[in-house]
Amino acid sequence: MFLLPKGNPLFENLAATKLKLPEVMTKLSTAGFTGYASFVFQTATAILVFESGQLVCALLEDRNGVRQTGLAAMSDLCQLMQTSGSGILNVYKLSKDLAICIHALLEGEIRYKAQELKLIDIKTLLEKIKSDQMNGCLRIYTDDRSAMIFYKEGNPLGFFHDGSHDIETSSSESQKIASLPDAKIDLFSTQSAEVLMGINLLEVVNVQNLWDSALALQQSQAGKVDREREERDKKDIGIKLATLEEDIKNIVIEYVGKVGRGIVDKEIAGLGGNTCLADSTKTSSLLAAIERSAKLLISTTKIKLMQEKLLSLIAAAVLEDL
């Protein structure tokens, strides 16, 4: 997923699922924050770019590379914060210029994505950037490190790597990452800073509403899940009760004969169906009723043996939580 160099850390590794997005937005906005906040979840990453407390860009990319921006990104972020089991928030301070570059990058177009550096003729690529007078960014990265080179009209503008606060002139970090065996590159074309829209998303998007809607949706889904689980549990219990009822009938038939089925059917129906088997008082009544009928058909010794067998069957079923 999309990984930016870390910048100057303000907060790192905050538990994103315990935070409320409206409160985070208010805090960063009122502090006049410039930089970016990245939310990293197992399924997606979101980057929010701030310039002087204004939320100028919101991007959310899932693990398949599908991107959402603006309102959709904010909405999905709200849902992720409420539904994900884990996630972290990192906030990095940047200079205003670097923030504008990041903003431009996030709104730019992907030209090449995840190309293995060792398979690319980097020299030819750089020459093409220069000859095309391209505005853009070359991102060099591995799984855990990242560096960027910004270009303006084909000329390198500067570098951005972990720990940078501003656009730097040193290329050493970029070269280090480029020399790693699993290094890859992305090439983005960007629009110039003059063309970028400077809309404050916090004025356009009601984050509190998005948060509340996501919360309501999450609660409704949780309720649905609870209901489904409840129905499934009920169904499971129903199956277990039916099995227990059949086992009871088989034992009674074994001792009393085939009329035993009718006796159990009648007594269970009289106690309100096989749910009575989950109630200890009703189960005792059932056993007493079966005994009363069995007295007309079999010997006391057999009744005793049958009752013992029935009791142990029911006790075992209760132990298994029915």
Binding site: G257, V259, L296, L297, S299
Partner: protein
């Protein structure tokens, strides 16, 4: 005292054996009714009442006609109780419903017997002819209900034939077959006026005659069947209850 000694001296050994058998059967069935399920109470009490109805043979006050009639009424109540019991058992086999309690059965029987006694007390003393009519009605009821009980027993057996007690109902079938022969042969004699009571009556009524002399074989056969089937009935009832008691123990 001399009267009693004379009375017992006149009793036939066969009658005494028959009453003893019914006494044993009555004791066994009454004991059975105490220790078992409610449905058995009617059946067991009914069989116990047969003993009371048969005890007329050894009743020294039998010359009181009202008492004699009372024996017949007890006999009728007996077969009705037995039938009621088997009917309840059959209903249980089909619906698995058990209702009522033993005390109600005991009290109901007592009330019926008391009312019957009251009925005899408030009415004139029955003549020998009336007494014979009462006995004939008793026998007719016995025959009809014995056939019905044979059918009930068959149906009960089919419903519970894989239960422990099912063989007990085969024994009851034998009991009712013996009773049918016993009471049927008596009724046959009464209907054709070949019974002893009728012979005693016509002995005092000179204008009546009897054709008993023309059918000695039939009369003899019926009397023999009645005697031995009665004996076997008492024996089979006692045996059946002992057998069922062992099955249910």
């Amino acid at each position: 005292m001399d009267q009693f000694l004379t009375f017992f001296g006149q009793l036939q050994t066969f009658d005494i054996i028959q009453v003893i058998f019914w006494g044993l059967a009555g004791a066994v069935s009454f004991h059975f009714s105490i220790g078992n399920a409610r449905v058995w109470t009617s059946i067991a009490i009914g069989f116990f009442l047969i003993f009371l109805s048969q005890a007329y043979t050894i009743n020294p006050w039998l010359h009181y006609y009202k008492l004699s009639a009372y024996h017949s009424i007890i006999g009728t109540v007996a077969i009705m109780m037995i039938t009621h019991g088997f009917l309840e058992y059959y209903v249980f086999c089909r619906t698995f419903e058990i209702s009522g309690n033993k005390l109600t059965v005991y009290l109901t029987v007592l009330v019926i017997l008391a009312c019957s006694g009251g009925f005899l007390l408030i009415n004139p003393t029955p003549s020998p002819n009336t007494l014979r009519n009462i006995k004939m009605v008793e026998n007719a009821i016995w025959v009809f209900l014995s056939v019905m009980n044979l059918e009930l027993v068959r149906k009960i057996y089919l419903a519970i034939k894989d239960s422990t007690i099912s063989k007990g109902f085969i024994a009851f079938g034998i009991v009712f077959f013996c009773i049918l022969l016993w009471k049927g042969s008596e009724l046959y004699l009464q209907i054709y006026q070949w019974d002893r009571d009728w012979q005693d009556i016509i002995a005092m009524m000179t204008e009546e005659s009897s054709d008993i002399g023309q059918y000695p074989l039939r009369v003899e056969l019926s009397q023999t069947v009645s005697r031995y089937a009665g004996l076997l009935s008492g024996f089979s009832v006692g045996g059946t209850f002992i057998y069922i008691y062992r099955l249910l123990k």
